[in-house]
Amino acid sequence: MTLFALSPDPLDGPALHRRLHSLTDGAVVVFEGVVRNHHNHQAVTALAYEGVEALAAETFAAIEQEAIAQFGLSQVIAIHRVGQVPAGEPAVWVGVASPHRDAAFAGCRYVIDELKQRLPIWKKELYEDGHARWVNEA
């Protein structure tokens, strides 16, 4: 079972976590990327994400295949929020399962690092004083 997607809805970590458990996998590793309430000494209230669904689906599929091929993972779940995500909520959730822990740790790290580099998604920081700023402008 695999699940890679952009989600406009809040992420249900415990429900996703349960989907990774099986009798054949001895290791489950989860990474949650949570919206911080500060950046460069400024108070951040939320991040606003926008993504391109069709291109994201291709990127997700490529990363999933790479992770399974390179690390022998049994299951991979990766979901990235779109829309406005308040401080304290997860914006990205990655979970993997494999028979042994080395592959699970390495595979989870690979998936989140590649998603951050390659997923066609853009974020804007919304600050407490009302202004906003796009992150990583060209």
Binding site: E50, V52, A54, L55, L119, P120, W122, A138
Partner: protein, 79 residues
């Protein structure tokens, strides 16, 4: 030639729209970016961006056909 041009993130905000049909003299994706950048006052260099034509990421030198859908992709900032 007439193209459909899509904008996301700060390009969308600067252009004031997410999509437009545009008649342009551009023969390549790079030339089209330069044309729309001048028209909308984009201050961002395409060096750090990429481009998708009809849903596929392509090199900036790709030659455009009438009716192509072009999407300019700023550097990703997910996570």
């Amino acid at each position: 030639m007439s193209f459909t041009v899509q904008y996301v993130a700060y390009l969308r905000e600067a252009a004031g729209r997410s999509v437009e049909t545009r008649d342009a003299r551009a023969a390549t994706a790079a030339e089209l970016y330069d044309e729309v950048a001048a028209a909308h006052g984009f201050r961002w260099s395409r060096a750090a961006m990429s481009v998708a034509v009809n849903g596929r990421v392509q090199p900036w030198t790709v030659r455009l056909q009438p009716g192509d859908e072009i999407l300019f992709l700023p550097p990703a900032s997910g996570g």
